[in-house]
Protein backbone atom coordinates (compact mmCIF):
# COMPACT_ATOMS: atom_id res chain seq x y z
CA UNK A 1 0.00 0.00 0.00
CA UNK A 2 2.57 2.57 1.16
CA UNK A 3 6.32 2.28 1.14
CA UNK A 4 8.36 5.14 2.56
CA UNK A 5 12.06 4.79 2.10
CA UNK A 6 14.72 6.96 3.74
CA UNK A 7 12.58 10.11 3.54
CA UNK A 8 14.36 13.35 4.35
CA UNK A 9 12.26 16.47 4.66
CA UNK A 10 13.04 20.02 5.71
CA UNK A 11 11.15 23.23 6.26
CA UNK A 12 12.89 26.60 6.00
CA UNK A 13 16.23 24.74 5.78
CA UNK A 14 15.59 22.91 9.03
CA UNK A 15 15.68 19.15 8.64
CA UNK A 16 12.66 17.52 10.28
CA UNK A 17 12.52 14.00 8.87
CA UNK A 18 15.98 12.47 8.77
CA UNK A 19 15.73 9.22 6.89
CA UNK A 20 12.24 7.97 7.74
CA UNK A 21 11.28 4.52 6.47
CA UNK A 22 7.99 2.67 6.89
CA UNK A 23 6.11 0.00 4.99
CA UNK A 24 2.35 -0.38 5.36
CA UNK A 25 0.60 -3.32 3.72
CA UNK A 26 -3.05 -3.73 2.80
CA UNK A 27 -5.28 -4.35 5.81
CA UNK A 28 -2.70 -3.22 8.39
CA UNK A 29 -3.04 -0.64 11.11
CA UNK A 30 0.18 1.08 12.15
CA UNK A 31 0.54 3.37 15.12
CA UNK A 32 3.21 6.05 15.12
CA UNK A 33 4.04 7.43 18.52
CA UNK A 34 6.56 10.02 19.51
CA UNK A 35 7.26 13.10 21.57
CA UNK A 36 6.45 16.66 20.49
CA UNK A 37 8.61 17.88 17.65
CA UNK A 38 9.71 14.42 16.52
CA UNK A 39 8.25 14.89 13.01
CA UNK A 40 4.89 13.10 13.24
CA UNK A 41 2.74 15.89 11.80
CA UNK A 42 5.40 16.77 9.24
CA UNK A 43 5.19 13.20 7.97
CA UNK A 44 1.41 13.42 7.62
CA UNK A 45 1.60 16.76 5.77
CA UNK A 46 4.33 15.57 3.43
CA UNK A 47 2.39 12.43 2.57
CA UNK A 48 -0.74 14.46 1.84
CA UNK A 49 1.28 16.96 -0.22
CA UNK A 50 1.28 20.25 1.66
CA UNK A 51 3.57 22.48 -0.34
CA UNK A 52 5.67 24.26 2.24
CA UNK A 53 7.72 21.13 2.94
CA UNK A 54 10.89 20.43 1.00
CA UNK A 55 11.62 16.78 0.23
CA UNK A 56 15.41 16.50 0.16
CA UNK A 57 15.81 12.79 -0.36
CA UNK A 58 14.07 9.44 -0.25
CA UNK A 59 10.91 8.03 -1.80
CA UNK A 60 7.29 7.34 -1.01
CA UNK A 61 5.40 4.87 -3.16
CA UNK A 62 1.63 4.62 -2.76
CA UNK A 63 -0.26 1.89 -4.63
CA UNK A 64 2.73 1.48 -6.96
CA UNK A 65 2.77 5.18 -7.83
CA UNK A 66 5.29 7.83 -6.87
CA UNK A 67 3.33 9.68 -4.22
CA UNK A 68 5.68 12.64 -4.04
CA UNK A 69 5.08 13.57 -7.67
CA UNK A 70 1.32 13.80 -7.32
CA UNK A 71 -0.74 16.94 -6.63
CA UNK A 72 -2.61 17.08 -3.33
CA UNK A 73 -6.03 16.38 -4.88
CA UNK A 74 -4.57 13.58 -6.98
CA UNK A 75 -3.24 11.84 -3.86
CA UNK A 76 -6.66 12.15 -2.22
CA UNK A 77 -8.48 10.80 -5.25
CA UNK A 78 -6.02 7.91 -5.41
CA UNK A 79 -7.20 6.93 -1.94
CA UNK A 80 -5.08 8.80 0.58
CA UNK A 81 -6.87 10.56 3.40
CA UNK A 82 -5.46 12.74 6.16
CA UNK A 83 -7.63 13.36 9.21
CA UNK A 84 -6.27 16.68 10.37
CA UNK A 85 -5.12 17.51 13.85
CA UNK A 86 -6.54 21.00 13.37
CA UNK A 87 -9.27 20.87 10.71
CA UNK A 88 -9.72 24.14 8.78
CA UNK A 89 -12.69 26.37 9.43
CA UNK A 90 -14.27 27.42 6.11
CA UNK A 91 -16.94 30.11 6.50
CA UNK A 92 -19.61 30.19 3.81
CA UNK A 93 -19.30 26.52 2.82
CA UNK A 94 -21.99 24.26 4.20
CA UNK A 95 -20.64 21.01 5.66
CA UNK A 96 -22.95 18.68 3.72
CA UNK A 97 -22.18 20.54 0.45
CA UNK A 98 -18.46 20.12 1.06
CA UNK A 99 -18.88 16.40 1.71
CA UNK A 100 -20.92 15.89 -1.42
CA UNK A 101 -18.44 17.87 -3.52
CA UNK A 102 -15.56 15.75 -2.19
CA UNK A 103 -17.38 12.49 -2.88
CA UNK A 104 -18.30 13.56 -6.39
CA UNK A 105 -14.73 14.74 -7.09
CA UNK A 106 -13.51 11.25 -6.23
CA UNK A 107 -16.25 9.61 -8.28
CA UNK A 108 -15.42 11.81 -11.26
CA UNK A 109 -11.75 10.86 -10.91
CA UNK A 110 -12.78 7.20 -11.01
CA UNK A 111 -15.08 7.80 -14.01
CA UNK A 112 -18.21 7.17 -11.98
CA UNK A 113 -21.38 9.24 -12.28
CA UNK A 114 -22.18 11.80 -9.58
CA UNK A 115 -23.86 10.46 -6.48
CA UNK A 116 -27.60 10.90 -6.57
CA UNK A 117 -28.80 13.47 -3.99
CA UNK A 118 -31.12 10.99 -2.34
CA UNK A 119 -28.49 8.29 -2.16
CA UNK A 120 -26.04 10.76 -0.66
CA UNK A 121 -28.57 11.89 1.94
CA UNK A 122 -29.30 8.31 2.92
CA UNK A 123 -25.64 7.42 3.32
CA UNK A 124 -24.94 10.63 5.21
CA UNK A 125 -27.80 10.01 7.62
CA UNK A 126 -26.52 6.54 8.41
CA UNK A 127 -22.96 7.71 9.05
CA UNK A 128 -23.98 10.71 11.16
CA UNK A 129 -26.10 8.44 13.34
CA UNK A 130 -23.21 6.03 13.79
CA UNK A 131 -20.94 8.86 14.86
CA UNK A 132 -23.59 10.41 17.09
CA UNK A 133 -23.40 13.66 15.09
CA UNK A 134 -26.25 16.15 15.36
CA UNK A 135 -27.69 16.46 11.80
CA UNK A 136 -27.95 20.23 12.30
CA UNK A 137 -24.16 20.32 12.20
CA UNK A 138 -24.26 19.38 8.53
CA UNK A 139 -26.18 22.54 7.72
CA UNK A 140 -23.63 24.72 9.44
CA UNK A 141 -20.51 26.15 7.83
CA UNK A 142 -17.65 23.68 7.68
CA UNK A 143 -15.97 23.44 11.10
CA UNK A 144 -17.00 27.02 11.94
CA UNK A 145 -17.82 27.33 15.65
CA UNK A 146 -17.54 23.56 16.04
CA UNK A 147 -16.20 22.30 19.36
CA UNK A 148 -12.88 20.42 19.32
CA UNK A 149 -14.77 17.12 19.52
CA UNK A 150 -17.18 18.06 16.73
CA UNK A 151 -14.28 18.92 14.43
CA UNK A 152 -12.68 15.52 14.99
CA UNK A 153 -15.99 13.73 14.47
CA UNK A 154 -16.39 15.69 11.25
CA UNK A 155 -13.02 14.43 10.04
CA UNK A 156 -14.01 10.83 10.79
CA UNK A 157 -17.35 11.40 9.05
CA UNK A 158 -15.44 12.50 5.95
CA UNK A 159 -13.21 9.46 6.28
CA UNK A 160 -16.14 7.06 6.45
CA UNK A 161 -17.94 8.77 3.54
CA UNK A 162 -14.85 8.90 1.29
CA UNK A 163 -13.75 5.38 2.15
CA UNK A 164 -10.01 5.82 1.46
CA UNK A 165 -7.45 3.06 0.94
CA UNK A 166 -5.02 4.63 3.39
CA UNK A 167 -6.10 6.92 6.20
CA UNK A 168 -3.63 8.88 8.27
CA UNK A 169 -5.08 10.01 11.58
CA UNK A 170 -3.02 12.89 12.89
CA UNK A 171 -3.59 13.07 16.65
CA UNK A 172 -7.30 12.50 16.21
CA UNK A 173 -7.53 11.81 19.95
CA UNK A 174 -6.30 15.25 21.00
CA UNK A 175 -9.10 17.40 22.37
CA UNK A 176 -11.57 14.53 22.67
CA UNK A 177 -13.39 13.64 25.87
CA UNK A 178 -13.69 9.96 26.85
CA UNK A 179 -17.09 9.41 25.22
CA UNK A 180 -16.10 11.19 22.00
CA UNK A 181 -12.87 9.19 21.88
CA UNK A 182 -14.87 5.96 22.03
CA UNK A 183 -17.35 7.11 19.35
CA UNK A 184 -14.60 8.33 17.02
CA UNK A 185 -12.60 5.12 17.52
CA UNK A 186 -15.67 3.00 16.81
CA UNK A 187 -16.16 5.03 13.63
CA UNK A 188 -12.60 4.24 12.56
CA UNK A 189 -13.00 0.57 13.45
CA UNK A 190 -16.17 0.33 11.35
CA UNK A 191 -14.18 1.63 8.36
CA UNK A 192 -11.44 -0.98 8.84
CA UNK A 193 -11.37 -3.92 6.45
CA UNK A 194 -8.88 -6.20 4.79
CA UNK A 195 -8.49 -3.85 1.82
CA UNK A 196 -7.59 -0.61 3.57
CA UNK A 197 -4.84 0.55 5.90
CA UNK A 198 -4.43 3.08 8.68
CA UNK A 199 -1.56 5.10 10.07
CA UNK A 200 -2.57 6.32 13.50
CA UNK A 201 -0.42 9.13 14.85
CA UNK A 202 -0.77 9.76 18.56
CA UNK A 203 0.99 10.78 21.73
CA UNK A 204 -0.99 8.48 23.95
CA UNK A 205 -1.53 4.76 24.27
CA UNK A 206 -5.16 5.42 25.31
CA UNK A 207 -6.40 5.73 21.69
CA UNK A 208 -4.79 2.38 20.89
CA UNK A 209 -7.00 0.70 23.50
CA UNK A 210 -9.83 1.39 21.08
CA UNK A 211 -8.09 1.20 17.71
CA UNK A 212 -5.92 -1.87 18.05
CA UNK A 213 -2.81 -1.53 15.87
CA UNK A 214 -0.96 -4.38 14.22
CA UNK A 215 2.31 -2.49 14.56
CA UNK A 216 3.58 0.27 16.80
CA UNK A 217 6.53 2.52 15.85
CA UNK A 218 8.33 5.06 17.95
CA UNK A 219 9.61 8.12 16.14
CA UNK A 220 12.30 10.33 17.62
CA UNK A 221 14.27 13.10 15.95
CA UNK A 222 12.86 12.46 12.49
CA UNK A 223 13.13 8.70 12.19
CA UNK A 224 11.74 5.47 13.58
CA UNK A 225 13.84 4.28 16.49
CA UNK A 226 11.85 1.25 17.56
CA UNK A 227 9.09 -0.93 16.13
CA UNK A 228 7.00 -3.65 17.67
CA UNK A 229 3.47 -4.80 18.32
CA UNK A 230 0.80 -3.37 20.62
CA UNK A 231 2.86 -4.28 23.69
CA UNK A 232 5.35 -1.57 22.67
CA UNK A 233 2.69 1.04 23.28
CA UNK A 234 2.07 -0.34 26.75
CA UNK A 235 5.78 -0.35 27.49
CA UNK A 236 6.01 3.23 26.24
CA UNK A 237 3.20 4.30 28.51
CA UNK A 238 5.10 2.83 31.47
CA UNK A 239 8.61 4.07 30.70
CA UNK A 240 8.06 7.31 28.78
CA UNK A 241 9.57 8.52 25.49
CA UNK A 242 12.96 9.50 26.81
CA UNK A 243 13.83 6.11 28.25
CA UNK A 244 12.45 4.22 25.28
CA UNK A 245 14.40 6.36 22.80
CA UNK A 246 17.61 5.72 24.75
CA UNK A 247 16.92 1.98 24.91
Amino acid sequence: MLNIDNLKVSIDDKEILKGFSLKINKGEVHALMGPNGSGKSTLSYVLSGKNKYQVDDGAAVFKDKNLLEMEVDERANNGLFLAFQYPMEIPGVQTSFFLRTAINAKRKFNNLPELDALEFAKELKKKTQELNINPDMLKRDLNVNYSGGEKKKQEILQLSMLNPDLAILDETDSGLDIDALRIVSEGVNRSRNSENSFLVITHYQRLLNYIKPDFVHIIADGKIVKSGDYSLALELEEKGYEKMAQA
Binding site: V72, F84, A105
Partner: protein, 369 residues
Protein backbone atom coordinates in the same frame (compact mmCIF):
# COMPACT_ATOMS: atom_id res chain seq x y z
CA UNK B 1 -17.74 77.29 -5.74
CA UNK B 2 -21.39 77.59 -4.86
CA UNK B 3 -23.29 74.51 -5.95
CA UNK B 4 -26.25 76.43 -7.34
CA UNK B 5 -23.95 78.57 -9.45
CA UNK B 6 -22.10 75.49 -10.48
CA UNK B 7 -25.29 73.86 -11.70
CA UNK B 8 -26.26 77.05 -13.50
CA UNK B 9 -22.91 77.14 -15.26
CA UNK B 10 -23.17 73.69 -16.63
CA UNK B 11 -26.90 73.50 -17.21
CA UNK B 12 -26.53 73.63 -20.94
CA UNK B 13 -23.75 71.12 -21.16
CA UNK B 14 -24.43 67.57 -22.07
CA UNK B 15 -23.82 65.06 -19.34
CA UNK B 16 -20.67 63.85 -20.97
CA UNK B 17 -19.25 67.35 -21.21
CA UNK B 18 -20.24 67.83 -17.62
CA UNK B 19 -18.06 64.93 -16.60
CA UNK B 20 -15.24 65.62 -19.00
CA UNK B 21 -14.95 69.33 -18.37
CA UNK B 22 -15.78 69.55 -14.74
CA UNK B 23 -16.02 66.57 -12.48
CA UNK B 24 -13.20 64.71 -14.16
CA UNK B 25 -10.90 67.68 -14.04
CA UNK B 26 -11.28 69.10 -10.57
CA UNK B 27 -13.08 68.56 -7.34
CA UNK B 28 -16.07 70.81 -7.94
CA UNK B 29 -17.11 71.05 -4.32
CA UNK B 30 -14.31 72.99 -2.75
CA UNK B 31 -16.05 73.32 0.57
CA UNK B 32 -15.93 69.62 1.22
CA UNK B 33 -13.20 67.75 2.94
CA UNK B 34 -10.69 66.31 0.53
CA UNK B 35 -11.05 63.01 2.42
CA UNK B 36 -14.50 62.61 0.96
CA UNK B 37 -14.23 60.55 -2.18
CA UNK B 38 -10.54 59.98 -1.54
CA UNK B 39 -10.53 56.92 -3.73
CA UNK B 40 -13.92 57.24 -5.22
CA UNK B 41 -13.85 60.68 -6.71
CA UNK B 42 -15.10 60.78 -10.22
CA UNK B 43 -11.88 62.08 -11.69
CA UNK B 44 -10.26 58.78 -10.72
CA UNK B 45 -12.61 56.83 -12.90
CA UNK B 46 -11.29 56.05 -16.31
CA UNK B 47 -14.18 56.27 -18.68
CA UNK B 48 -12.30 54.83 -21.63
CA UNK B 49 -13.93 51.50 -22.01
CA UNK B 50 -11.33 49.12 -23.35
CA UNK B 51 -12.97 45.87 -22.35
CA UNK B 52 -15.99 44.78 -24.29
CA UNK B 53 -16.38 41.17 -23.29
CA UNK B 54 -19.70 41.55 -21.55
CA UNK B 55 -21.32 38.15 -21.38
CA UNK B 56 -24.58 37.42 -23.04
CA UNK B 57 -26.63 36.76 -19.97
CA UNK B 58 -30.15 37.70 -19.03
CA UNK B 59 -31.80 37.30 -15.65
CA UNK B 60 -35.16 37.04 -17.38
CA UNK B 61 -37.13 38.60 -14.61
CA UNK B 62 -40.29 40.43 -15.55
CA UNK B 63 -41.04 43.93 -14.35
CA UNK B 64 -44.44 44.12 -12.61
CA UNK B 65 -44.36 47.77 -11.60
CA UNK B 66 -44.39 49.82 -14.80
CA UNK B 67 -48.15 50.09 -15.40
CA UNK B 68 -49.03 50.95 -11.81
CA UNK B 69 -46.23 53.46 -11.68
CA UNK B 70 -47.24 55.23 -14.89
CA UNK B 71 -50.85 55.47 -13.73
CA UNK B 72 -50.15 56.74 -10.24
CA UNK B 73 -46.95 58.74 -10.49
CA UNK B 74 -46.92 62.46 -9.91
CA UNK B 75 -44.29 65.11 -10.30
CA UNK B 76 -42.44 66.42 -7.31
CA UNK B 77 -40.51 69.63 -7.01
CA UNK B 78 -36.75 69.30 -6.97
CA UNK B 79 -36.61 71.83 -4.20
CA UNK B 80 -38.62 69.51 -1.98
CA UNK B 81 -36.06 66.90 -2.55
CA UNK B 82 -33.24 68.40 -0.52
CA UNK B 83 -32.90 66.99 2.91
CA UNK B 84 -30.76 68.38 5.62
CA UNK B 85 -27.62 66.46 5.24
CA UNK B 86 -24.98 67.43 7.67
CA UNK B 87 -22.62 69.98 6.21
CA UNK B 88 -19.88 67.38 6.29
CA UNK B 89 -21.77 65.10 3.95
CA UNK B 90 -20.45 65.44 0.44
CA UNK B 91 -23.11 66.15 -2.09
CA UNK B 92 -23.22 63.55 -4.74
CA UNK B 93 -22.06 64.43 -8.21
CA UNK B 94 -24.26 61.65 -9.54
CA UNK B 95 -27.36 63.01 -7.85
CA UNK B 96 -26.62 66.46 -9.20
CA UNK B 97 -25.83 65.20 -12.68
CA UNK B 98 -29.06 63.26 -12.75
CA UNK B 99 -31.06 66.31 -11.74
CA UNK B 100 -29.23 68.49 -14.22
CA UNK B 101 -29.99 66.20 -17.10
CA UNK B 102 -33.65 65.99 -16.16
CA UNK B 103 -34.89 68.28 -13.39
CA UNK B 104 -38.20 66.44 -13.17
CA UNK B 105 -38.62 64.14 -10.21
CA UNK B 106 -41.29 61.47 -10.43
CA UNK B 107 -42.94 60.48 -7.24
CA UNK B 108 -44.88 57.36 -6.35
CA UNK B 109 -46.54 56.08 -3.22
CA UNK B 110 -45.55 52.45 -2.78
CA UNK B 111 -48.66 51.90 -0.66
CA UNK B 112 -50.51 51.89 -3.99
CA UNK B 113 -48.68 48.80 -5.07
CA UNK B 114 -50.52 45.66 -4.12
CA UNK B 115 -48.14 42.82 -4.88
CA UNK B 116 -45.83 41.78 -2.10
CA UNK B 117 -42.85 41.87 -4.40
CA UNK B 118 -42.27 44.77 -6.68
CA UNK B 119 -39.90 44.18 -9.61
CA UNK B 120 -38.53 47.30 -11.27
CA UNK B 121 -36.54 46.77 -14.45
CA UNK B 122 -34.98 50.19 -14.99
CA UNK B 123 -34.51 49.57 -18.70
CA UNK B 124 -38.25 50.15 -19.18
CA UNK B 125 -38.23 53.55 -17.51
CA UNK B 126 -37.36 56.77 -19.26
CA UNK B 127 -37.50 58.79 -16.05
CA UNK B 128 -34.20 59.45 -14.31
CA UNK B 129 -35.28 60.69 -10.91
CA UNK B 130 -37.66 59.00 -8.53
CA UNK B 131 -39.05 59.48 -5.09
CA UNK B 132 -40.80 56.51 -3.51
CA UNK B 133 -42.87 56.96 -0.40
CA UNK B 134 -43.75 54.07 1.84
CA UNK B 135 -45.86 54.19 4.93
CA UNK B 136 -46.74 50.73 6.14
CA UNK B 137 -45.55 48.40 8.87
CA UNK B 138 -46.02 45.48 6.53
CA UNK B 139 -42.75 44.84 4.79
CA UNK B 140 -42.57 45.52 1.07
CA UNK B 141 -39.90 43.80 -1.02
CA UNK B 142 -38.40 45.47 -4.07
CA UNK B 143 -36.14 44.14 -6.78
CA UNK B 144 -34.40 46.83 -8.78
CA UNK B 145 -32.64 45.66 -11.89
CA UNK B 146 -30.11 47.76 -13.75
CA UNK B 147 -28.79 45.91 -16.78
CA UNK B 148 -27.46 46.51 -20.27
CA UNK B 149 -31.02 46.37 -21.53
CA UNK B 150 -31.16 49.91 -20.18
CA UNK B 151 -29.77 51.94 -23.07
CA UNK B 152 -30.11 55.17 -21.19
CA UNK B 153 -26.65 55.66 -19.74
CA UNK B 154 -27.52 58.70 -17.71
CA UNK B 155 -27.32 58.60 -13.94
CA UNK B 156 -30.31 57.42 -11.98
CA UNK B 157 -31.43 59.00 -8.77
CA UNK B 158 -33.76 56.99 -6.52
CA UNK B 159 -34.95 58.32 -3.23
CA UNK B 160 -37.02 56.45 -0.65
CA UNK B 161 -38.99 58.25 2.03
CA UNK B 162 -39.81 55.76 4.73
CA UNK B 163 -42.47 56.90 7.13
CA UNK B 164 -42.69 55.93 10.77
CA UNK B 165 -42.55 52.17 11.47
CA UNK B 166 -42.37 51.26 7.80
CA UNK B 167 -40.32 48.37 6.68
CA UNK B 168 -38.67 47.75 3.30
CA UNK B 169 -36.37 45.14 1.80
CA UNK B 170 -34.55 45.82 -1.46
CA UNK B 171 -32.49 43.63 -3.72
CA UNK B 172 -30.64 45.81 -6.19
CA UNK B 173 -28.86 44.06 -9.04
CA UNK B 174 -26.56 45.73 -11.52
CA UNK B 175 -25.28 43.48 -14.26
CA UNK B 176 -23.91 43.57 -17.81
CA UNK B 177 -23.50 47.35 -17.69
CA UNK B 178 -20.83 49.16 -19.63
CA UNK B 179 -21.33 52.12 -17.39
CA UNK B 180 -23.69 52.42 -14.48
CA UNK B 181 -24.12 55.50 -12.33
CA UNK B 182 -26.75 55.33 -9.63
CA UNK B 183 -27.58 57.20 -6.48
CA UNK B 184 -29.80 55.72 -3.78
CA UNK B 185 -31.06 57.82 -0.92
CA UNK B 186 -33.08 56.69 2.07
CA UNK B 187 -34.75 59.14 4.36
CA UNK B 188 -35.87 57.10 7.34
CA UNK B 189 -38.44 58.33 9.84
CA UNK B 190 -38.59 57.02 13.39
CA UNK B 191 -38.59 53.24 13.85
CA UNK B 192 -38.39 52.46 10.14
CA UNK B 193 -36.16 49.75 8.81
CA UNK B 194 -34.31 49.09 5.56
CA UNK B 195 -32.62 45.89 4.51
CA UNK B 196 -30.81 46.44 1.23
CA UNK B 197 -28.74 43.88 -0.64
CA UNK B 198 -26.64 44.99 -3.58
CA UNK B 199 -25.29 42.56 -6.17
CA UNK B 200 -23.00 43.79 -8.93
CA UNK B 201 -21.74 41.37 -11.55
CA UNK B 202 -20.29 41.53 -15.03
CA UNK B 203 -20.09 45.31 -15.27
CA UNK B 204 -17.32 47.43 -16.73
CA UNK B 205 -17.70 50.83 -15.13
CA UNK B 206 -19.86 51.27 -12.15
CA UNK B 207 -20.43 53.79 -9.47
CA UNK B 208 -23.19 53.39 -6.92
CA UNK B 209 -23.80 55.66 -3.99
CA UNK B 210 -25.95 54.89 -1.00
CA UNK B 211 -27.08 57.55 1.44
CA UNK B 212 -29.08 56.76 4.54
CA UNK B 213 -30.50 59.35 6.88
CA UNK B 214 -31.71 57.80 10.14
CA UNK B 215 -34.12 59.29 12.67
CA UNK B 216 -34.54 57.61 16.06
CA UNK B 217 -34.98 53.85 16.60
CA UNK B 218 -34.30 53.11 12.94
CA UNK B 219 -32.52 50.10 11.61
CA UNK B 220 -30.47 50.03 8.43
CA UNK B 221 -28.76 47.06 6.90
CA UNK B 222 -26.86 47.23 3.64
CA UNK B 223 -24.96 44.25 2.27
CA UNK B 224 -23.12 44.40 -1.02
CA UNK B 225 -21.25 41.99 -3.24
CA UNK B 226 -19.22 42.98 -6.28
CA UNK B 227 -17.92 40.12 -8.41
CA UNK B 228 -16.86 39.23 -11.96
CA UNK B 229 -16.55 42.87 -12.97
CA UNK B 230 -14.01 44.69 -15.11
CA UNK B 231 -12.74 48.25 -15.16
CA UNK B 232 -13.37 50.49 -12.18
CA UNK B 233 -16.14 49.70 -9.74
CA UNK B 234 -16.88 52.31 -7.09
CA UNK B 235 -19.21 52.10 -4.16
CA UNK B 236 -19.72 54.96 -1.79
CA UNK B 237 -21.92 54.91 1.27
CA UNK B 238 -22.85 57.52 3.83
CA UNK B 239 -24.91 56.45 6.81
CA UNK B 240 -26.00 59.38 8.89
CA UNK B 241 -27.32 58.78 12.40
CA UNK B 242 -29.11 62.05 13.09
CA UNK B 243 -31.12 60.98 16.12
CA UNK B 244 -30.63 58.61 19.06
CA UNK B 245 -31.11 54.84 19.34
CA UNK B 246 -30.63 53.72 15.74
CA UNK B 247 -28.55 50.91 14.41
CA UNK B 248 -26.79 50.38 11.10
CA UNK B 249 -24.98 47.34 9.70
CA UNK B 250 -22.97 47.47 6.52
CA UNK B 251 -21.01 44.68 4.90
CA UNK B 252 -19.43 45.12 1.49
CA UNK B 253 -17.51 42.37 -0.27
CA UNK B 254 -15.59 42.57 -3.54
CA UNK B 255 -13.99 39.80 -5.54
CA UNK B 256 -11.44 41.46 -7.78
CA UNK B 257 -9.76 39.84 -10.76
CA UNK B 258 -8.70 40.38 -14.39
CA UNK B 259 -7.09 43.73 -13.63
CA UNK B 260 -10.24 45.33 -12.27
CA UNK B 261 -10.20 47.99 -9.60
CA UNK B 262 -12.75 48.21 -6.83
CA UNK B 263 -13.11 51.15 -4.52
CA UNK B 264 -15.22 51.14 -1.43
CA UNK B 265 -15.55 54.19 0.71
CA UNK B 266 -18.12 54.26 3.48
CA UNK B 267 -18.78 56.54 6.37
CA UNK B 268 -20.86 56.21 9.49
CA UNK B 269 -21.67 59.69 10.72
CA UNK B 270 -23.09 60.13 14.22
CA UNK B 271 -24.59 63.47 15.11
CA UNK B 272 -23.93 64.87 18.58
CA UNK B 273 -27.49 64.19 19.68
CA UNK B 274 -27.55 60.65 18.25
CA UNK B 275 -26.69 58.90 21.53
CA UNK B 276 -26.98 55.10 21.84
CA UNK B 277 -26.19 54.69 18.16
CA UNK B 278 -25.04 51.20 17.23
CA UNK B 279 -23.07 51.21 13.99
CA UNK B 280 -21.02 48.58 12.25
CA UNK B 281 -19.24 48.56 8.93
CA UNK B 282 -17.08 45.92 7.31
CA UNK B 283 -15.52 45.94 3.86
CA UNK B 284 -13.62 42.96 2.55
CA UNK B 285 -11.91 42.35 -0.77
CA UNK B 286 -10.64 39.14 -2.24
CA UNK B 287 -7.86 39.69 -4.78
CA UNK B 288 -7.48 36.82 -7.21
CA UNK B 289 -4.44 37.99 -9.15
CA UNK B 290 -1.49 40.35 -9.07
CA UNK B 291 -2.84 42.92 -11.50
CA UNK B 292 -6.12 43.82 -9.80
CA UNK B 293 -6.54 46.47 -7.17
CA UNK B 294 -8.83 47.25 -4.31
CA UNK B 295 -9.06 50.43 -2.26
CA UNK B 296 -11.18 50.22 0.87
CA UNK B 297 -11.68 53.21 3.07
CA UNK B 298 -13.84 52.78 6.15
CA UNK B 299 -14.67 55.96 8.04
CA UNK B 300 -16.30 56.92 11.30
CA UNK B 301 -17.23 60.46 12.21
CA UNK B 302 -18.72 60.56 15.68
CA UNK B 303 -19.83 63.57 17.69
CA UNK B 304 -21.88 61.78 20.37
CA UNK B 305 -20.17 60.26 23.41
CA UNK B 306 -22.40 57.29 24.23
CA UNK B 307 -22.34 55.18 21.08
CA UNK B 308 -21.07 51.85 19.86
CA UNK B 309 -19.48 52.04 16.42
CA UNK B 310 -16.97 49.75 14.82
CA UNK B 311 -15.49 49.33 11.42
CA UNK B 312 -13.03 47.07 9.73
CA UNK B 313 -11.53 46.34 6.38
CA UNK B 314 -9.52 43.51 4.88
CA UNK B 315 -7.95 42.84 1.51
CA UNK B 316 -6.61 39.35 1.00
CA UNK B 317 -6.04 36.57 -1.47
CA UNK B 318 -7.57 33.10 -1.21
CA UNK B 319 -6.29 31.38 1.92
CA UNK B 320 -3.78 28.72 0.85
CA UNK B 321 -4.66 26.56 3.84
CA UNK B 322 -8.31 26.58 2.73
CA UNK B 323 -7.24 25.48 -0.74
CA UNK B 324 -5.05 22.75 0.75
CA UNK B 325 -7.96 21.46 2.83
CA UNK B 326 -10.15 21.22 -0.28
CA UNK B 327 -7.34 19.57 -2.26
CA UNK B 328 -6.75 17.07 0.53
CA UNK B 329 -10.33 15.91 -0.01
CA UNK B 330 -9.80 15.43 -3.73
CA UNK B 331 -11.32 18.74 -4.84
CA UNK B 332 -9.28 20.46 -7.56
CA UNK B 333 -7.93 23.98 -7.02
CA UNK B 334 -10.17 25.35 -9.80
CA UNK B 335 -13.34 23.97 -8.24
CA UNK B 336 -12.17 24.94 -4.75
CA UNK B 337 -11.54 28.52 -5.89
CA UNK B 338 -15.00 28.66 -7.39
CA UNK B 339 -16.57 27.42 -4.16
CA UNK B 340 -14.46 29.75 -2.01
CA UNK B 341 -15.47 32.75 -4.14
CA UNK B 342 -19.10 32.02 -3.51
CA UNK B 343 -18.36 31.34 0.16
CA UNK B 344 -16.74 34.76 0.36
CA UNK B 345 -19.97 36.54 -0.55
CA UNK B 346 -22.26 34.07 1.22
CA UNK B 347 -22.61 36.45 4.18
CA UNK B 348 -24.13 39.01 1.81
CA UNK B 349 -26.54 36.47 0.32
CA UNK B 350 -27.52 35.33 3.81
CA UNK B 351 -28.66 38.85 4.65
CA UNK B 352 -31.59 38.50 2.24
CA UNK B 353 -34.69 37.66 4.26
CA UNK B 354 -37.33 37.25 1.56
CA UNK B 355 -37.39 33.79 -0.03
CA UNK B 356 -38.32 35.10 -3.50
CA UNK B 357 -35.48 37.63 -3.43
CA UNK B 358 -33.19 34.80 -2.38
CA UNK B 359 -34.15 32.81 -5.46
CA UNK B 360 -33.37 35.78 -7.72
CA UNK B 361 -30.01 36.35 -6.07
CA UNK B 362 -29.16 32.66 -6.44
CA UNK B 363 -29.84 32.96 -10.14
CA UNK B 364 -27.32 35.72 -10.70
CA UNK B 365 -24.72 34.27 -8.35
CA UNK B 366 -24.85 30.78 -9.87
CA UNK B 367 -24.58 32.31 -13.35
CA UNK B 368 -21.32 34.06 -12.56
CA UNK B 369 -19.69 32.14 -9.71
Amino acid sequence: MDVEKYIENIKNNTLNQYFQNNLLAVNPFQNHKIENYKYAQLNKIDYDITHKNILNFDLNIQDNFYDTFQKNKFTAEVSQDHINWNFNAPDSAIRLASLIKDPTVHSFDLNNFENEICVIDLSLYQELNYIFDYNNEKKISLVIIDSNRDKNKSPRYLKFNLHQNSNIEILQITYNKESSLAFYEFNQSNSSSVNMTVLQANNIQLRNEFYFNLASHCSTKISGANFCNLGVNDNYSFIQHKEPNSSSREVFKSIVERGAITNFQGKIYVDKIAQKTDGYQMSRSLLLDNISKSNNKPELEIYADDVKCSHGSTISKIDEDHLYYFNSRGISSDLATKILKKAFIQEVLDSIEDVSLNKISDKIVSSFL
